[in-house]
Symmetry: C2
Amino acid sequence: MNQINPPPRLLMGPGPSTADPRVLRAMSAQLVGQYDPAMTDLMNETMELYREVFSTRNEQTFLVDGTSRAGIEAALVSLLEPGDRMLVPVLGRFGHLLVEIAERCGAEVHTITVPWGEVFRPEQVEEAVLAVRPKLLAVVQGDTSTTMCQPLADLGEICRRHDVLLYCDATASLGGNPYPADAWGIDVTTAGLQKCLGGPSGSAPITLSPRAVAVIEARRHVEAGIRDAGDQPRGRRIQSNYFDLAMVMDYWGPRRLNHHTEATTMLYGARECARLLVAEGIDNAVERHRLHGAAMLAGVQGLGLGVFGDLAHKMNNVVAVEIPDGVDGEGLRAALLADFGIEIGTSFGPLHGRVWRIGTMGYNARRDAVLTTLAALEQVLRACGAAVTAGGGVGAAREVYAG
Amino acid sequence: MNQINPPPRLLMGPGPSTADPRVLRAMSAQLVGQYDPAMTDLMNETMELYREVFSTRNEQTFLVDGTSRAGIEAALVSLLEPGDRMLVPVLGRFGHLLVEIAERCGAEVHTITVPWGEVFRPEQVEEAVLAVRPKLLAVVQGDTSTTMCQPLADLGEICRRHDVLLYCDATASLGGNPYPADAWGIDVTTAGLQKCLGGPSGSAPITLSPRAVAVIEARRHVEAGIRDAGDQPRGRRIQSNYFDLAMVMDYWGPRRLNHHTEATTMLYGARECARLLVAEGIDNAVERHRLHGAAMLAGVQGLGLGVFGDLAHKMNNVVAVEIPDGVDGEGLRAALLADFGIEIGTSFGPLHGRVWRIGTMGYNARRDAVLTTLAALEQVLRACGAAVTAGGGVGAAREVYAG
């Protein structure tokens, strides 16, 4: 077999997105040892950078070594004990994933739902909190399955008032949409690199509020062989070793208690993702995603295509585009990939076969990526027999850029 | 903060070891989409390459997205149900880790032990199998905490005879010591990249025999949102979503059912680690580790240092070197790192403060790495006041190389 040589792709789906070349270069740096002072400095710097990315002062801000789903499971399995109640307002596929993971933790999971393409009003959530009295409210900020961005500004206050912990999966939204974790009173957030952060999947940034940390510390069981006399077990042991955040915190903290061997190359990548975002300024990055997302939206509409969902609550970084009647959605995607090297996304569940999902995120929240995608989309739509407005996509996007 | 720029290190501890630069270059390749034909081809190639690395024909040979500990937990949580009995012959710290992880899966765990620095005879294991009647026998092949390599050739046959599944953690040994999984009748093996495979931590290769697959498939619960009518839930649901190997197999298999988003860059690295090993030839790689391990052993003895453990059962790729009386073990390690950029390992548990652990593995199973380490070690030992044989380390190693 040959050396790796992947074909050039412009990844304009709902993620993973094309990685920033600077992130890949950072990941080509040689390894250092697990407890090398250079390594522990890099770990501390990564914590500091992600505090800025999440707009938080939470001491416990670090990486879980796995994909974004690993971050979700680490949060839920560390917070939830068998029998605990959790409430999930489900706005799309990734809400169902929270349910699925929490059920496996033994939690009693309750849900409320809205039709795909809508979000919840704070009153709906509060009403359900009162009815269910959960230990944890778990919500997805940006669910790429529907492209919706759930407003969170009021949920933290509701949770504090009713003594509920608030967890948010910000995998798809972080960096491309506002996410002031502390200002919104969010206790635990997890994310990934492969959406608006411009890196590859495989590392899950997480941040935990002091009250979430207290819940987890109350279940602290340091593993045999590394515990000392002060490490008396407390509470019910977390049902995963790998995702035991009490131990992961001891590894990232000043005691540096051995747990896993930190995935050094992924850490290099995660640090660079955050460093670039902080250097740009989080607000500037969000504005960049807003601008290029608006250009893509105007562009697909300018081609004469419909879009799905409540546009007032669309994430900045992805749009669901209705597949015109008579067009083979998968055939068009294949043609776009084969002839232009551009990937756009298919869709799940009730939207399967009805929409494509087109992303503008991370490194690809760029003018040339948007205009190239619209130009190519026009060509393949025409080749597939769809009625399109010649030049309408690129023209409408240019108007957005012209202000 | 600045771009990443780690200091140059020669990692001669028990792992992580210095990565092969070719692996890091492979990891700098740009991403492709999750279901891009180029990506699914790379996944299939990775499966094929790891079949060769594990010397197995197991169809189910793939990667778990996390560190080697993630691979262990995925295997144990997918195989073990609450109340199942597991037997662990504990030969060092990583045997205790298997116990710890299995307990969190709800298993009833039994252990047998040998003093650190020894291994088990097959009769000892069989006697315990008969006494415990476990569902699963779980063993570490190479436990870096003691440097011992447990003989496995007879265990598969014992397990078949008593209808027991056999799991082995080969993280530290694979690629540097013989590991014919099928010939030895091992049902499940997990590993990592950061020891003899020459890559970074963060991806866990795994292989599962058909009878292990059958046990896991009997617990198949496809998650809501992606299951179809044929996916009726079976048996007791695995208590982790991320580590549910039935779902991970569906993702790597022809159905390509969505689970996590594969950690593309780690996959590139894992594929390159295996590609290089297969190109070298597994037997040649093991012989290389044997040679350089023998040179390092002779070298430290040539310096006048004692070594720990039963040398007849030492792993090829690591040696435990007794800290001479009067020498500050941690001070010497710090001096070696500061003055020569060379890292050697400290140790755990009963060996803490008694030995250093010196590795010769993966990319660093090389003559220049061995000789440079021995030359530098001589200098720092002398500076720390130890009696050393001038030139004795490099000289003895050279004799091994001269054959």
